[in-house]
């Protein structure tokens, strides 16, 4: 056996010097533009010369968000199938490239970039959490591509490269407050998960309440995923508030409503207005714990309109009679149709042409007519308060007078002046 060689410190110095030299050589040959200089725009590789046009579907198919996001994926596929059956967009069949966001922001960013740069898709549909949207936003801006984001969110954002087909705050939270004020609510207790959406929502609620003379008697945040609510529910119970505004997310809702029912609180005594509970979630919480409580959305499965009947029937025919349709699913379904309609109007799949033609593009959607606002890339939406009934579905008990124009920065509300941010 040969003498075992020991790596001498001299070898380390040498190898470090060699690596440094190689790296430095590589770096000097590769220094791009600096801050303030214009970067050459990335060349789009989208090719629509054939019979098909590729789009991406980027939803979490694994991880904690998969339960919600797979329903959105189903709705995207349904819309694409329908459009293809009707002849496609500009005569081209839509081809979906699916990717898994895996409930992780970094994966969303990676897959978005892959869809744009490797698969050369014309647009991407998907995302759910604000974290996933924030992670994808720079990818779509840097590569100048398009994302259609289908979930209600906290507002204060308007990217050229994103179309927001879910509600912004003035189409969901403010109407919910209007409804509560109309029904005579004078004091509110705020319960939310500890992240940006509930924090922003509650900042808006506080400003609204200060302006309208509603008292905020408590404001509590639970860790995301927390299932221990006895303390919070006891405080809510003792507060004597007229109503609770609930911005909890995910599993926390199950624990919260069970505890709420356990201490004997009912919808008659102290109604809970929720903004993250839709048809899908009611089953998990248990109808006995949540019957009679309120939710604020733009769409319910029970809306009576020809467009909705068609949508619900088609969805059940495709995925099973036991499945339900919800607001984010409908917004995702709309987003595909809105993109297709914009492309038809523009006569092109080019990002710049879509952006230029988007203003005023409309779709007769299950929730009613939705129209794209070309300035902020949101859509008009009718706000609806729903009551959860014994069959597990939500029924509209109040709706806004017509569709509400999107105002993501709340510029049209004087009381919200302190909440505004520089764009």
């Amino acid at each position: 056996m040969p003498q075992r060689f020991t790596f001498h410190p001299r070898d380390l110095t040498r190898s470090l010097a060699a690596t440094a030299a190689v790296t430095a050589l590589a770096l000097t040959s590769a220094c791009g533009s600096r801050a303030g200089e214009e970067t050459a725009a990335a060349e789009s590789c989208v090719d629509t010369s054939g019979d098909t046009v590729k789009v991406g579907a980027l939803n979490s198919l694994s991880g904690t968000m998969s339960i919600s996001e797979t329903t959105v994926r189903d709705a995207i596929y349904l819309a694409v199938d329908e459009i293809n059956a009707a002849g496609g967009v500009q005569g081209k069949q839509i081809e979906i490239v699916a990717e898994d966001g895996a409930s992780e922001p970094t994966v969303f960013a990676e897959k978005a970039e892959k869809l744009i740069r490797e698969d050369c898709v014309a647009a991407v549909f998907g995302g759910w959490t604000s974290a996933s949207r924030k992670a994808m936003l720079p990818v779509f801006e840097d590569n100048d591509s398009l994302l259609y984001y289908p979930v209600q969110y906290e507002g204060l954002e308007a990217s050229e490269n994103i179309f927001y087909t879910g509600a912004t705050t003035n189409q969901q939270i403010i109407p919910a407050l209007d409804y509560l004020a109309e029904t005579g609510v004078k004091s509110l207790y705020l319960v939310g998960s500890d992240y940006v959406f509930p924090r922003t929502a509650n900042a808006i609620i506080n400003a609204y309440a200060a302006d309208k003379g509603i008292e905020i008697v408590g404001e509590d945040y639970a860790q995301l995923g927390s299932v221990e609510f006895s303390t919070i529910v006891n405080q809510v119970s003792a507060s004597g508030a007229d109503a609770v505004f609930n911005t909890l997310n995910g599993d926390s809702n199950v624990a919260f409503f069970r505890e709420y029912a356990n201490v004997g609180l009912t919808a008659e005594q102290m109604p809970v207005m929720s903004v993250s509970i839709a048809e899908e979630e009611v089953g998990g919480i248990g109808i006995e714990n949540i019957e009679g409580q309120l939710a604020a959305w733009n769409y319910y499965q029970t809306i009576e309109s020809p467009a909705n009947t068609t949508f619900v029937d088609a969805f059940k025919a495709e995925y099973g009679a036991d499945r339900v349709t919800s607001d984010p699913m409908e917004a995702a379904y709309n987003s595909v149709y809105l993109w297709a309609a914009t492309a038809e109007k523009a006569g092109s799949f080019d990002v710049a042409d879509i952006q230029a033609s988007a203003d005023g593009v409309s779709f007769e959607s299950p929730e009613g007519t939705v129209v794209i606002d070309g300035e902020n890339h949101h859509v008009t939406k009718t706000a609806r308060i729903g009551e959860i009934r014994a069959d597990g579905l939500l029924y509209t008990v109040w709706e806004s007078a017509g569709a509400i124009e999107p105002d993501p920065f709340l510029e049209g509300y004087e009381w919200a002046a302190d909440l505004q941010v520089s764009e």
Binding site: F7, L16, L61, P105
Partner: protein
């Protein structure tokens, strides 16, 4: 073959080959997007080299490298957000995400991160210093084995929870939307390639440092502590000191990897630094072969590559395929991918004897 790599010429040719692949072949063959992904994977590999040292050589099952990775990443992200705000709205401006969270005044602890020098110093010192303090507290009390593993994992969980609650650190969403890396535009393809070269260079440096530590007298002591801590102590060495060095080196590597990860990937959030990512770091090392030098690097790259390739191929079923892969590798190759060479050699020797007998 393994004997050749134990010689001086072998080591140098190994480095040469690695440099040729990383600096020559990869940029030529891969698209910009794939090269960016490789840069991300190289960051994981840098973390893995540290784990190989602490766990493979030192026997410390560090289930919480996400803490150090996260520290490095967040420190770098703070500087990049500051630089971004300063470039857009002047000196002392509040980063965009803080405005969204309703924070109008820049918190005092953010201010010094406007300086690139201060930031780099912090990335090198803060996580390492924390590891030294923690290491002394833990190893002097002779906490080891499962207890140390649980402690380090709990730390990763706690760190992620702590950050989720800090709106001034981006909370659950984390920090994203970076535009510049020390003055260079991040949306420029040339600069993205530059980041890849930095990641590749750092990986080679880190491997060289790890090699030096392994081959030195210290490396022998570290293995001795791993295999028979009591005996080393009877010989008059303080085992805690020996362990702290490896633990701190692993922390430093992870922090540097985190700092490069941020400009490469463009986002850092608690989801990238908590318990699950920490376990993924360990998994790569286990798959690659924890005790060997290149095993952890190969393992980290293989796991990350498999995850990407499988999820692109089977978006809704890739987690099963990945799980199966882990089980197969661990069951058939307990020594990791690095043990394949040894196994084939044994197989060849065996068939040679069989032939000779026949």
């Amino acid at each position: 073959m393994s004997r050749f790599f134990a010689t001086r010429a072998g080591v140098w040719s190994g480095f040469g080959a690695a440099a040729l692949v990383l600096f020559g072949a990869a940029p030529l063959l891969l698209s910009g997007f794939r090269l960016g992904l490789l840069a991300q994977f190289l960051c994981y590999a840098i973390v893995a080299v540290g784990i190989g040292l602490a766990w493979g050589r030192g026997g410390m099952l560090t289930l919480g490298q996400g803490v150090f990775f996260g520290m490095g990443a967040y420190l770098m992200a703070m500087h990049m957000k500051m630089a971004d705000a300063e470039f857009r709205n002047g000196h002392g401006a509040v980063p965009d995400f803080m405005e969204l969270a309703g924070i109008r005044e820049l918190p005092a602890y953010w201010v010094p991160f406007a300086s690139p020098v201060f930031t780099i110093a912090m990335i090198l010192v803060l996580p390492t210093g924390f590891a030294v303090l923690l290491g002394f507290a833990v190893f002097k009390r002779r906490v080891k084995g499962a207890y140390f593993a649980i402690l380090s994992q709990a730390l990763a969980g706690a760190f992620a929870i702590l950050l989720i609650g800090q709106q001034s650190m981006g909370g659950f969403n984390g920090l994203s939307r970076f535009r510049y890396f020390f003055g260079y535009n991040l949306d420029d393809a040339v600069n993205q390639q530059m980041l890849y070269f930095i990641a590749a260079g750092v990986l080679l440096v880190v491997v060289a440092v790890a090699l030096q530590l392994r081959r030195s007298r210290y490396g022998e002591l570290l293995v001795a502590v791993r295999d028979a801590e009591e005996r080393v102590r009877f010989l008059g060495y303080d085992a805690a000191n020996i362990k702290v060095v490896a633990y701190a080196a692993a922390a430093l590597f992870a922090a540097v990897a985190g700092a490069i990860f941020v400009p490469v990937v463009g986002i850092i959030s608690p989801a990238s630094i908590g318990i699950v990512p920490s376990i993924m770091f360990i998994l790569g090392v286990a798959i690659g072969g924890r005790a060997s030098l290149v095993g952890p690097v190969v393992g980290a790259l293989a796991v990350a590559w498999a995850q990407t390739a499988l999820s692109e191929q089977f978006p809704s079923a890739w987690t099963y395929a990945q799980g199966l892969l882990f089980i197969v590798v661990i069951a058939l190759l307990p020594g990791g991918i690095a043990s394949v060479a040894a196994l084939t050699k044994r197989f060849q020797a065996k068939s040679a004897t069989v032939e000779a007998a026949a």
